[in-house]
Symmetry: D2
Subunit: 473 residues, 4 copies
């Protein structure tokens, strides 16, 4: 039986620079390009060799950092973090990088991923006297490093990493070193690059293009990269690791201009759409995608099927945290929020609506209804991924078993529930093939746990499930 | 010879509701869907039959209005405005609706467009004792209404309107009436709709979909619509008017889900792209569009040409007013701002880059350079409109003669300046045909002044030209 | 019969500098020292000889102006204004200086005082075509200047001033001149000073000490001072004027370190307290004052009576606009707001409580109750001014006839209503004598209208009465 | 030899309520009345029996808490804290109450005082694996409680308290209990009161008057008060404690309407002033005090000496964090900041200037100069306390040995340095006698360490000295 669902997760983005005189500015632009990975909070910690200076806050990168802040974030090395919006929890305490002070030196940590044994570790640590000020599982990592008996910092870090289970792409910064670590399954993307002599590390390669960096290589599962004034070196803290890269990074989470392990995201999505067109045999007038993440797949579908691609749905760009949600009575009168149908495009048409995934089914139902109200005569829903049947414990905010519509219902039942004229998913194998990775492992080294329930790591009775977020699909 | 260039223009959006108990909330969502027409300021004025209440401010709709403000904006009728960002001028005083108090009643005005005789009228009015607190040409309208000798308010308004030359879509609100007026050339879009018994008016029909309204009809050139508790009535203040709808509303300014005079914007743009594909004869590997406004044209081009459409360029969604611009030294190191090339898509490819227009040429040059640096072997620039040779005096912020690259240079010269392997524009006639309006007038009732220099209205030596804005293309 | 009560008044402070390279900074510190005269809004307009630049906003001086704003307010001359908090009205539009643009030049106006014929003038001006954007009577002045037929600016100003009735200390700034005008009764204080070669003008002399200026002289009733690059000159726009300086400036409004026409405010108040001690014959243990304005009078009383002065009441310094007012239920449980009694000082004591005035009586009643609850055995209320029986139309926010407790009730009735053991006021003559001005006019040139109903100017049926403010006493 | 000087101190205020349905609101008003004890930050943590909810932030109480926050701070018990402004350190992390989460329950701590063995304890705790996120010594207390081996929470707290050396008035809140502890020397004030059935605790009794509470008793040195649903009980964690109440709380820190151990602060100060008058034999025309803290002493001096008390110096009330400090060039031109002399009062006069203390001498020198420039013929400085010769390690921000002018210089030398015509201090014994406590201990139970160097607790080589703050006197 799967673990009880509780807690808080962190689907986020990390970025770091070592060896650049404007490291904080570079990190600002890097984080800015990773903003889609987290809008709740952002932070940067820098070192000038002597002192760690940090600034963090709730909100977008552009809200947290002002011009004059940048000049105070002095130093040749920086790490940064953008944090995913969670429903209720959070607050300033949980914004990263976390910064810890000690009489022998300071430590900053930025973490993307989710630890499945965080609660177990917390129980252990509290038994030994640790106290916690955030609800983030990242704080556990700092405690484990602190408590390790090893004498060198890198040994203490490696010792701590062996205690962690789950997904983690970690950046650590001390006065004199930056460390980069990836979990033994390599569940989250993490890449190294260079700007001249400086090293850069990022959750997604799109940040390299934005800051003018060159891609060097991906960080390997179970690898600890240590960068200091003597240069860069690589160590292993885990052997026999098997890559299990999150499929959802390809399907909907990452930015289309990023490459993950050599595969461009836009291209992968377009291929998913093409594959979908091959398995669907429906006559239709237009293909449309759900913005933004499904546009590439929809274009691929249209191209393969020879049906015109049209903008049948439009997203309002200006919906932010301060947007006033329409009241129930206004929604019932037809006031839309983020997404509107384009009547001129769908009226009187048979519409193929391509989306990347179905989670709870509520969004799909709303869009189908919207398109039909706008005059579509048929709406065929084509999903560029397999049905999501199981929750993710590694940092992607899907949902609980209870709420995952595909966990309890057949495809035909879902079709009826969302009011579509037809509903098609990709199979796991078609999805893996379309993405087109060259990895030799099972499922070409992709994690497909949320489609199959086969988790690449152990789970525990108190494993923390990504908290339910506002995003319902 | 054309008038000297100076002053301030107002490409903006207007929205109004009459007869709805939550008129301010409806207006909030309406303005929100018109946000692309102006991000500098926003305002709403309501009437409850006795008192006009206003709230306005600098910034986005979601920044200006907070939850608790809505409850204070009581009343069954509201007008609202979103204001275009201008370079230096502006400030709170220029944010609309403007609100004027008098011992016989109050008046609020919201204006989209640009008056070509504003300075002439100001000189006249100042000679008669008027004083001005804003630099907006809208203030002139209030003075003209006030000074009119007619006894009824609607006669005074009509009398004032006859004095105006240029482009104006106007909403007026008093304690007991809402008035809607469009200039005799109908240069700007303005449409009427209904929500049950309530009337709605908007610059673009996309707002109707968002607030659940039904489209009724477009406001006619030279028409004054008067709505009060006795119902709605239409009057004419100008006869013999000829429609000259701004071509740029179709080409790049309006939202793709809006219809202007029966033509859907996305469809028009896709058709412009298709037409472009017909006149271009180039072998290429991929078609890409410059986000956001050129995506529809690029898809049309790709569809017609049978060349795959790809996301070769990506726009960062989170660039707002508080974004810290990279310093020159960082830009030289390759730090990007709003737009990034997608290396995985363009590397080693012959790229057709579709854009909607070229103004100064600087943006085109930057994008071509960016694509080539990202590995494109050829970059063919295809523009879904004719060369812009003349400034607009009606509210679209293109630029001055000096700065309009097509005003001084041939197509071949421009191609060389922007570094493209080829450069193609649409002809005026192809553009008009592709958009596909059914109007019987010259150029099917489109204003093509910025392409041909043939202005639909008189101009004056002191006509105010749209101030130069940050947007350079 | 007195005019109907309606409208908005402006008890405020003005400050100006001509001929100093850091005129805006000097004005900032000047306004800061006048902050007690108005906390609702603040503004500064500067000229560098070519352009008027303005910045204004709602809130305190320190809230409106930030460090980087100061560098933008360039120029050798500035005028500034602090605005009194009004209950409901107001908003940004009413914050001064008001700034008017015209094709022949700009004009900024800052005004302290209240016009008694503002409504009459507005009716006239609206009849001639003027429109108004604020509810401030100051806007009238700009219209009158604009409409004057005279050819020179100073003649137009003088012509406009002859139209005004009531109280006004006015600063005007154009690109090339600063003008200073005082109403023919000199109802409000206004003084000239110098900093080296620069001229400074202020509502209160305390600002001279703060900015390091030397006092030169007071502006005379009916005087227009004109300062430009040719120097300073004085003109008269009214002859036969009689000084009627507001008594309340001495009694409670001005800062104790200011001098008005040669009389120091603290000294005047202390003398009012001494005089009060001479007419009161009560045995008591302690004298206490109501902070802040009555402390000087209380000390004078204690000194003269030989009774110890004690801090029987204390004011919380941190009550600002964002203070959350206690709910009714909390107030009933005893939660205090601004003022607390000092139990250790008043318990078991016979207390003489000196206050500067009684307006509605509600504050006096609250304080007497508070002192008794804190253990005072007797509370004798001694007021260092005569009973206020009539409203002020010149800018001091007292109240309406209805609400002025002394307008309807005898001293004995008031004593009973506020629960005091005795109640003493000063007579008008004692008050005038104690203040000790050397003016030869009636009441030594003081306005005593609020005590006697003898107004120094005409009044009109639609004279605007100072709006009722939060301050109830 | 005394410890090296480094670190951060916390002169602050604490307030708590147990058993009131609006505990957070009560705490808001309580903290508001303690605002003079700390303006850098404020926070409240509440419990409703199940969950601790906290809100804290940098700034004033009125800035940190908004109306809608209050409704979210649900619960029958609350603790709150206001934090003293420190020069450089600080930030959100150091704002209290600190809140710690654990799987067995949460804990909030608010602390007024300064631990002299904080660094020693940190070294110990870090050796055992603790990590720290703030630079506040308060975090140490939470770690000690966590690590205690005792089984009940109150035993763990008492165990932790025995490890602390120095000054602490502590409030602790868990889901089900509030605890109140005072160090064995009782160096800081802490009092218990009641509102009906609810218990209230505060740093100063002025808060009781503001929230309508009744004073019950002072918390005793070495006492731990435990309040929960079973009622209130008192325990001792230290025996043989001797009260050593901080003298500076009487002399300048506390609010005049507070009583500390039965002595009213205003009365104490007035008596200090009277005693000073008895030992000074100088002919003078006026007595003036330095606002705000020296006014009571100055009035006492004037009363005893029979010399008129006058407002010779005035403080600008509106100087806050956002005040723009005048540049050096403006200061040299005479622009004043917080304090101005009242020329009308001091010109041509022999002035006795009463101040509460001299720390560095810079402020005294500035005031003497200011008074002389304003025309005072003689300035005699009378200080209502003994010379401060030694730094405070218990939370009062005086300064380091280096900077304490009386540490290195004789009274005559100081007189010359500050430019006074005479300079008088009180002796320690006169000071103790004037304050008039009835305690039987040495110096009547007052701590006089800063005057004599005789510290009531042990000190350590790494004892943290209160960081130097902006306040120089």
């Amino acid at each position: 039986m799967l673990p009880e669902i509780k807690g808080l997760n962190e689907e986020c983005g990390v970025f770091g620079v070592w060896g650049h005189p404007q490291s904080a500015s570079i990190t600002y632009y890097g984080l800015h390009s990773l903003q889609h990975r987290g809008q709740e909070g952002a932070g940067i910690v820098t070192t000038d060799g002597d002192v760690l200076r940090g600034l963090k806050g709730e909100g977008l990168v552009t809200e947290v950092f002002k011009q004059h802040d940048m000049s105070e974030l002095k130093g040749h090395a920086s790490i940064g973090h953008v944090r995913y919006a969670t429903a209720g929890g959070g607050g300033y305490e949980n914004v990263q990088p976390l910064l810890f002070h000690s009489q022998t030196g300071s430590l900053a940590i930025a973490h993307n991923g989710n630890l499945v044994n965080a609660n177990a570790l917390k129980h252990q640590l509290e038994g030994q006297g640790s106290i916690f000020q955030s609800t983030s599982d990242t704080e556990v990592v700092a405690h484990l490093i602190k408590r390790s008996g090893y004498s060198t910092f890198s040994d203490r870090v490696k010792n701590a990493l062996t205690m962690l289970k789950g997904a983690y792409a970690l950046l650590l910064l001390t006065e004199t070193e930056m460390m980069v670590a990836l979990d033994p399954n390599g569940l989250r993307p993490l890449s190294l690059g260079t700007i001249g002599d400086a090293y850069v590390v990022t959750s997604e390669t799109c940040a390299f293009d934005v800051v003018g960096a060159e891609y060097l290589r991906d960080v390997q599962p179970g690898e600890l990269v240590i960068i200091n004034e003597e240069g860069i070196r690589s160590e292993r803290f885990s052997y026999g690791a098997k890559r299990a890269m999150c499929s959802m990074e390809y399907i909907y989470f990452s930015r289309p201009d990023s490459d993950i392990q050599g595969v461009n995201i836009h291209t992968a999505r377009k291929n998913l759409g093409k594959q979908l067109a091959r398995v669907v045999d429906i006559e239709a007038d237009v293909v449309t995608g759900v913005p933004d993440s499904s546009i590439s797949a929809a274009i691929g579908f249209a191209e393969e099927a020879g049906i015109p691609y049209e903008l049948g749905l439009i997203k309002n760009r200006y919906v932010g945290r301060t947007f006033i949600q329409p009241t129930k009575s206004l929604r019932e009168q037809g006031v839309k929020m983020k997404l509107s149908p384009v009547r001129g495009v769908v009226e009187g048409k048979r519409v193929i609506m391509v989306d990347d995934s179905i989670v709870r089914g509520t969004t799909s139902k709303r869009i189908v209804t919207m398109l039909k109200e706008a005059g579509a005569t048929e709406v065929h829903v084509c999903i560029s991924s397999p049905p999501i049947k199981d929750p993710c414990f590694y940092g992607i905010d899907t949902s609980t078993h209870e709420e995952l519509i595909a966990s309890k219902h057949s495809v035909e039942e879902i079709r009826e529930m969302i009011g579509a004229d037809s509903l098609t998913f990709l199979s796991v194998e078609d999805m893996v093939t379309a993405i087109g990775r060259t990895d030799q492992g099972e499922h070409r080294g992709q994690c497909v746990a949320c489609f199959t329930g086969q988790y690449p790591t152990e789970l525990y009775p108190d494993t923390v499930l990504p908290h339910e977020k506002e995003l319902t699909r």
